[in-house]
């Protein structure tokens, strides 16, 4: 056997594990990021905000892999911070696409409440090195509500463009489907992992699949330009 230096060995292990489904799921975030990178100049504000969200998502996954595989340290804090970034950016995206006359104030209040909740949860309930499921669940419920609201407004406003053409509908569809399905996972996460650390494995696989689906919707959003 050749002797491999520790760094090369780690790189090999990482490369091997890329074939693993979870890694494919993590890598899928690069696709909408690259599409958005190419088309960024033509984007209106809401698509640019989504591109930033995808960008932070890509950075999170890269950091998570590096921390876990290379540096052998827990990568949970990275995901917790991303949860906060996601709450803020999704709020700002919906502040632009929902009826501003009606929703401007409520979304600002929601943003403030979300940040306070996140910081409060971090300080009192779930420290940074523990998966902040409370904040994630709180964020998901809000995202579900905002996505549903977007669909209702779109239907009520009798938009003349076909729904497939409207890029932000794809964003809301992705958020709705992902939040719908992953909410149960995060609701049950604490109960199971408190008793048995390796308890949830199959659902994480499904979550990985839904993350790929979410990134597909993001990719379609980044590909489509908003109708004039």
């Amino acid at each position: 056997m050749f002797y491999l230096s520790p760094r090369l060995y780690t790189l090999g292990k990482v490369t091997f594990e890329l074939i693993h489904f979870i890694r494919i799921s993590q890598a899928s975030v690069c696709i909408p990021f690259l599409i958005g990178w190419i088309r960024y100049r033509n984007f209106p504000a809401e698509q640019r905000l989504l591109h930033w969200l995808i960008g932070f998502g890509t950075l999170t996954e890269v950091l998570a892999i590096v921390l876990h595989q290379v540096m052998q340290v827990p990568n949970i804090p990275v995901y917790n911070l991303f949860a906060l970034v996601q709450i803020v950016l999704v709020n700002r995206i919906y502040a632009r696409i929902l009826n501003q006359a009606v929703w401007w104030l409520w979304l600002n209040i929601l943003l403030f409440t979300s940040i306070v909740f996140f910081l409060g949860n971090l300080y009192f309930a779930q420290p940074i090195n523990e998966l902040n499921t409370h904040s994630i669940i709180f964020g998901m419920v809000i995202h579900l509500f905002l996505a549903a609201r977007h669909f209702i407004e779109n239907f009520r406003d009798k938009n003349e463009n076909q729904p497939e053409v409207q890029s932000m509908l794809w964003f809301s569809a992705g958020i709705l489907i992902y939040s719908c399905s992953s909410l149960l996972l995060f609701l049950a996460y604490d109960q199971i992992t408190n008793h048995f650390q390796e308890g949830i494995f199959t659902p994480w696989g499904l979550n990985a699949l839904m993350f790929i689906l979410l990134n597909s919707f993001y990719a379609i959003n980044q590909w489509k330009s908003l109708p004039k």
């Binding site: 497939e164 489907i177 048995f196 308890g199």
Partner: protein, 266 residues
């Protein structure tokens, strides 16, 4: 380490729960996209039909104008033109060489012809724009038209009205033409003996009930409206008005027409 059975069960429950929610989410989004597409398609069809209807009304309006111009041109040529030509001949015939009796006769005939010409021009001008409509208003213009109709045609017209104040000139002109068209249609096609008209103004809206005892509208006519009816619809669309037709074969024809009136400025 062996995973406890209950953990496995909860694991499976969460997995199938997530799968169910995923399917539910996909179904909701698909239904929305599909429904929205259908609504947009229906809106487009409706808009196309409305545009087509507007084009038809415009076509009818233009054809109506052309028809009217042709008729006026024909009247001017056949009546006024012929009379003036004949008058000219009489004036040419007038000369100092004629004896007194012939001169007087020729002069008398020339003057009669000129009177007929004046009467003919007055009639054509009345058709273009009845003076009485501008001076006395819609109700008096209609009464004058009905009086002329009852004298010249064998038809009785009952005109019942309650219009407490004058209406805008443009609205008055449109309403006059609408009622004129209805009367002309009855005289030409309906074989009616009696016409009943009830004109009422209430809450800034003018309501007309027009009824005759003629042969009614045939089925073919009801499906493809004639030029006259299209002209009426065209005028009503300008006034945001509404037309309803009630017709039974050989049991007469009834129109219910209404439109909001423009405020009349002094």
């Amino acid at each position: 380490m062996e995973i406890p059975t209950e953990i496995k069960t909860i694991n499976d429950l969460i997995f199938f729960g997530m799968l169910l929610m995923l399917i539910l989410g996909l179904v909701i989004v698909s239904i929305f996209f599909h429904y929205q597409k259908r609504v947009i398609q229906q809106q487009r069809i409706s808009l196309q039909q409305e545009n087509e209807h507007q084009k038809q009304l415009l076509r009818a309006s233009i054809l109506g104008q052309e028809r009217e111009r042709n008729r006026l041109g024909k009247d001017m040529h056949d009546e006024v033109g012929a009379l003036l030509t004949t008058t000219r001949l009489y004036f040419e015939h007038l000369s100092l060489n004629l004896d007194s009796h012939s001169f007087t006769e020729t002069k008398k005939k020339a003057i009669e012809l000129l009177d007929l010409t004046v009467s003919s021009v007055r009639s054509v001008s009345h058709d273009l724009r009845p003076v009485i409509l501008n001076q006395m208003g819609l109700v008096h213009a209609l009464e004058s038209t009905i009086e002329y109709l009852e004298h010249s045609k064998e038809i009785k017209v009952v005109f019942d009205h309650h219009v407490p104040h004058e209406i805008d000139k443009e609205d008055a002109a449109n309403w006059f033409r609408i009622i004129q068209e209805l009367l002309n249609n009855t005289i030409k096609h309906a074989k009616a003996k009696c016409i009943f008209m009830h004109l009422v103004m209430a809450k800034n809206t003018l309501f007309l009930t027009y009824r005759d005892d003629g042969i009614g509208l045939g089925k073919a006519f009801q499906q493809n409206r004639g030029l006259g009816l299209q002209n009426i619809e065209s005028r009503l669309s300008l006034m945001n008005g509404h037309l309803e037709i009630v017709s039974k074969q050989n049991q007469g024809l009834e129109f219910q027409i209404q439109s909001k009136l423009k405020p009349k400025f002094p």
